[in-house]
Symmetry: C2
Subunit: 460 residues, 2 copies
């Protein structure tokens, strides 16, 4: 069976101050250490994401729940933020029809899925005003069970459902995805008799794409969840070696880490040549930034681009700007659809158009990807290439697992814990202080006591 | 009338190695020089974007054309890439209903707008399969008149329209936005008798949001174009001084430039607390990256975030990672809609939820913005605040003009030409070589002659 290919030749170009095999040999021991460290934590049961593809029971329960909801409702709202939204969104937008929510029911063959991932009242109110609530259900997704943005949406929607359909109508419409044992949402599930799917205690939000967090919206959108997990499982199996030249996730992590530490390239661009992978870029940004951004001396910046679109945007910066980037180009070898181009007689005198005749739009896109790779390398900018045989559930599972494992290994190489996010706690405390949470008065007072702004620096 | 406010106090915190008034005094002469240099090029007629708000004739013609199309068709496809797409998309998503394309015609009151901005055949074929072509028109937007991605879409759609509706049906459905005199598309407009709107010769693609490029989709989506231009005009008027403490765009550019050059902060984050400004972030990424990314020693990396969503993603990196970022937070003072939160009895024992009672979702979002600003500053990370009184056409016009002028001034401060993009030409030549454009054989041959990849670095 064809599978994902990783090619790091674009980082090893001697003409471009690339890495050499000596660099790779030098990092081999550290890579092995990162691999062993991850395996040890995994075997101790601390880290569960790589075992998700084997969790058939949760996949089955999720598919059954999605089927039940899909039989009764037209719309599913996924109330979640960050890792509780990005994974599901990435999977659905990669694998569902590009205009899924616009298709009539009979062509769609699955629920419409919405990801209102922000506590922006303008969006949420507009969404509730757009959908028929009678035909709408929602999944409240928070591992901890108390995420403020998500709970604010839950409260608003719960109140509307109860007002309109009563307690039973609310219970039919609301499902929860949360920790299997702990947290407010789990207690609420028990108290209110709501159906709830688990996020294993050892799976953090940003590594939860292949848990019920991502699988529920995927299944509801008609994605082949079994194939998705099979692809992830196959990638996980490919990555069971600590040999940096045998484990694609380890090689990817090592190449990016070397480029950062040895060449000062700490902006890591993910540039798929496929619109459907745009949201996968946003998912990767969270994964890489939140996992590795831990110290003033550690924290590569992930940057999301889409080819060919960003050739008309950030590519200029990548080609001629600072030597601080590595660009990963993702190719889909066989596009799902293609379009033949024929240049009519009246257009043939324009050289910049005539050559398109007889080609397909897919050939144009692939020529642009090859050309961009070559132009970057000629300008001394390293690239990495990932090729998916096609953009289907299996390949998407491979890609997600590749990037998750690479992130875990990169944490080991950088010497940081890739699985926490202590830096966001201060902001949460300030917000709770401002909104009057008992016990958080000191944070409100601290803000009230801040130095007065200099009015000369405010242009109003 | 309330207007946009810029506050750079968050860059001047002595506890956080911030700038001081001496830095600002030191950059005043360079800022004045950047201002004067821009004004001189503007007065010579080389740079036209700041004069677009005064071009009532084009605005009128655009509105008339949009009205005519809207009276006959349900859907408008904007065929354009980069600057030919991002500006219109930013305006429409900021100002139209958040689920505009999903609304039924009677509630929408305007055309559905689609921006297929890539030569991805999977997306384009799916879009054509989703819409009723009889009810669809399209605007082909390319300043040069020969952009390959856009022309490939034009060719495909032209052929389908002619096959189905004949030449006259194609002429009814297709309008062009291009250079007023030059280029293939202008000649095609004449030869085929197509209606065409101008992009002034002295307005480059990424500065064209307020030309017909952005105004046509905006008007077709029901945006108040006159107010948009009035807001832009008001900001342009505010920026007619070379005094860095009197011109908000100049102060913004100077603060970011100083943070880059004096503090090594060359990642510039734009983080609006409004979903509707998400696409404005993508627009800014192109503007800042393509305008300033010109030399190995010049090229800040723009980074798009959205609050509160990215508090659960890249914020961790911003707070604890490398000291290489400046974060601009954008606030909308009065949200368009709000939602009251009431915490039911059964939820009140959960401290992390109970405090939401009696607040609104808008208050939560604003508390999070204030809290994030404070947390960043406490961690020694500089911030800049932009406040829009509300998110309406006028404020959007102010914001776009602020960022465009800031980009122009930043070009002056960095000593680069902000209005070209030489770095993307090599890739175009390779792509044309690969697709067999006569005269470009050498580029194809160069790729064919590239060194063979090392198979050990390919994990397949």
């Amino acid at each position: 069976m064809e599978r994902l290919t990783l090619d790091v030749n674009g980082c090893f170009d001697p003409a471009a101050e690339g890495l050499d095999r000596g660099d790779l040999a030098g990092v081999a021991a550290a890579a092995l250490g990162a691999f062993d460290g991850f395996q040890a934590r995994r075997e101790k049961g601390e880290l569960g994401f790589a075992d998700l593809p084997a969790d058939a029971a949760t996949a089955d329960a999720t598919e059954r729940l999605a089927k039940d909801l899909g039989g009764r409702f037209e719309n599913l709202l996924v109330l979640g933020i960050g890792g509780s939204s990005l994974g599901g969104r990435a999977i659905v937008s990669a694998l569902a029809h590009p205009f899924h929510n616009l298709l009539p029911r009979e062509r769609r063959g699955a629920m419409r899925i919405f990801f209102p991932d922000n506590s922006d009242p303008a969006t949420f109110e507009a969404l509730l005003g757009t959908l028929d609530l009678a035909d709408t259900c929602f999944a409240t997704v928070t591992k901890s069970g108390g995420t403020a943005e998500t709970m604010s949406q839950h409260l608003a929607l719960r109140a509307r459902c109860i007002a309109r359909f009563g307690e039973e109508g609310y219970r039919e419409r609301c499902v929860l995805v949360t920790d299997p044992a702990k947290g407010a949402l789990r207690e609420i599930a028990r108290a209110e008799g709501l159906r709830a799917l688990p996020v294993p205690a050892n799976v953090g939000g940003r590594f939860s794409a292949l848990s019920a967090v991502g699988l529920l919206p995927a299944a509801a959108a008609g994605v082949d969840v079994a194939e998705l997990l099979a692809g992830a499982s196959a990638m996980e199996a490919r990555c069971r070696t600590g040999d940096v030249l045998g484990n694609p996730a380890l090689l990817y992590a090592a190449a990016l880490h070397l480029m950062d530490r040895r060449r000062g390239r700490r902006i890591h661009v993910l540039m798929p040549y496929a619109d459907a992978l745009r949201d996968t870029g946003d998912w990767f940004v969270q994964l890489w930034a939140e996992s590795l951004g831990k110290r003033p001396d550690v924290g590569p910046t992930p940057f999301r681009a889409v080819g060919a679109t960003d050739q008309h945007s950030s590519l200029q910066l990548m080609v001629e700007g600072p030597q601080d980037k590595v660009v990963t180009l993702v190719r889909v070898a066989s596009p799902r659809a293609d379009l033949s181009l024929s240049v009519p007689e009246g257009y043939r005198r324009f050289g910049e158009i005539a050559y398109l005749d007889g080609h397909t739009m897919g050939e144009l896109l692939e020529a642009e990807r090859r050309a961009t790779d070559a132009a970057l390398r000629k300008a001394g900018r390293p690239t990495i290439s990932i090729t998916l045989p096609r953009l289907d559930a299996r390949a998407m599972g491979e890609l997600l697992m590749l990037l998750e494992l690479a992130t875990a290994y990169a944490g080991g190489l950088y010497g940081v814990n890739a699985f926490d996010q202590p830096g966001v706690e201060a902001g949460k405390r300030y917000a709770q202080g401002l909104l009057g949470r008992p016990g958080f008065e000191q944070y409100r007072d601290e803000l009230a006591g801040a130095a007065k702004p200099d009015p000369a620096l405010v242009l109003a």
